[in-house]
């Protein structure tokens, strides 16, 4: 579902564990199972957020709206369906993700 409006095209960066947040590169699209404060540094670098779990009141959704970046949350399968380095378009208003 769409949790924060906006449309961004970019490259996927999958982060499965908070311990991996240092891998996050500036401007990439962050794809995670869910977020909590341990993902903070990655959230500050990403251009959009996609999560497997969560709703419009989840941590990631709230932070994405504050940051003004698009977010699609509760996809159930983003971390398993998307690939690192894949180019996608995220529509946070409609809650849709397109392969480019």
């Amino acid at each position: 579902m769409g949790a924060s409006p906006g449309v961004v095209e970019g490259v996927v960066q999958i982060i499965l564990q908070p311990e991996e947040v240092n891998r996050m590169e500036e401007g990439k699209i962050l794809v995670v199972p869910f977020t909590n404060p341990l993902f903070t540094s990655a959230l500050l670098k990403c251009s959009a957020l996609i999560t497997d779990e969560g709703g419009i009141m989840s941590h990631g959704a709230i932070i994405a709206r504050e940051l003004g970046i698009p977010a699609v949350v509760g996809t159930k399968k983003a971390t398993s369906s998307l690939k690192d380095g894949q180019r996608i378009l995220v529509d946070g208003e409609r809650g849709e993700i397109y392969e480019k």
Binding site: P37, E53, M57, S58, H59, E66, G68, G74
Partner: protein, 236 residues
């Protein structure tokens, strides 16, 4: 022990209503996780905090014995949201050494401290967190320089809106860094205050940022940052 305390009853009612609204959502879907469950909730975090509860009770009693009144005790916490984080302790209280009477008394004290800040609506039932009266709002607004964004060219106003949003988001995230789940220990968002001409003021205070627990806090330029935002033409 029969409880006739209005605040405690109101708190129970408000929490019950809030939980009813989210009970079907998994915990991860709500932030900060407000669900109360003996196995999944915050219970496991607070059950070992017996010594904290005993110390808190003893600290409050000690201050009272020294003649400090409840309003001044509340002010030691600085902000109501910070005190509200203590209500998470209610859940694990029954596992503490405190007697039931002491637990109820401590809960009532904590709720009274919150109410001393939010005089009219201690649990924000009207969706407003009002801490200042009209004269305080006027005084504060006299001291700040507001930037009128609608009067700026579109490209500039967009940049400023985005910058303000990112500053707030970054400060929120910093509070999460400092205080994790209980990030409201480091910030208080209050308002909306109704101004003249239908304008609304929202105040976001971030404080105790240079928390000595963290070495990097020394590098922060300020211990407190407050953001004032005035909105017009708000639609419900």
């Amino acid at each position: 022990m029969k409880n006739n305390n209005h605040l405690l009853n109101k708190f129970t009612e408000v929490m019950a209503n809030a939980l009813l609204g989210v009970s079907e959502e998994p915990g991860l879907y709500i932030w900060p996780m407000p669900y109360f469950h003996p196995a999944e909730g915050n219970f496991y975090l607070y059950a070992p905090k017996n010594s904290f509860l005993v110390q808190l009770r003893s600290l409050i009693d000690g201050l009272r014995n020294k003649g400090v009144n409840d309003k001044d005790i509340a002010l030691l916490f600085k902000k109501p949201s910070r005190i509200a984080t203590l209500t998470f302790l209610f859940e694990g209280m029954r596992y503490s050494e405190l007697t039931k009477e002491e637990r109820v008394k401590l809960a009532i004290d904590i709720l009274n401290y919150i109410a001393s800040f939010r005089k009219e609506d201690p649990f924000c039932e009207e969706m407003r967190n009002i801490l200042w009266d009209e004269s305080e709002v006027r005084d504060v607004l006299r001291k700040v320089n507001l930037i009128s964004i609608p009067q700026l060219p579109r490209d500039k106003s967009t940049k400023i809106r985005k910058l303000a949003s990112q500053i707030n988001a970054s400060l929120w995230l910093l509070c999460e860094y400092l205080y994790f789940n209980h990030h409201s220990i480091g910030h208080e968002f209050h308002g909306p205050y109704r101004l003249d001409n239908g304008l609304l003021l929202i105040v976001r205070e971030y404080y105790d940022l240079k928390n000595e627990l963290w070495s990097f806090s020394d590098k922060l330029p300020a211990n407190q940052i407050t953001s004032f935002e005035v909105y017009e033409k708000i639609q419900k």
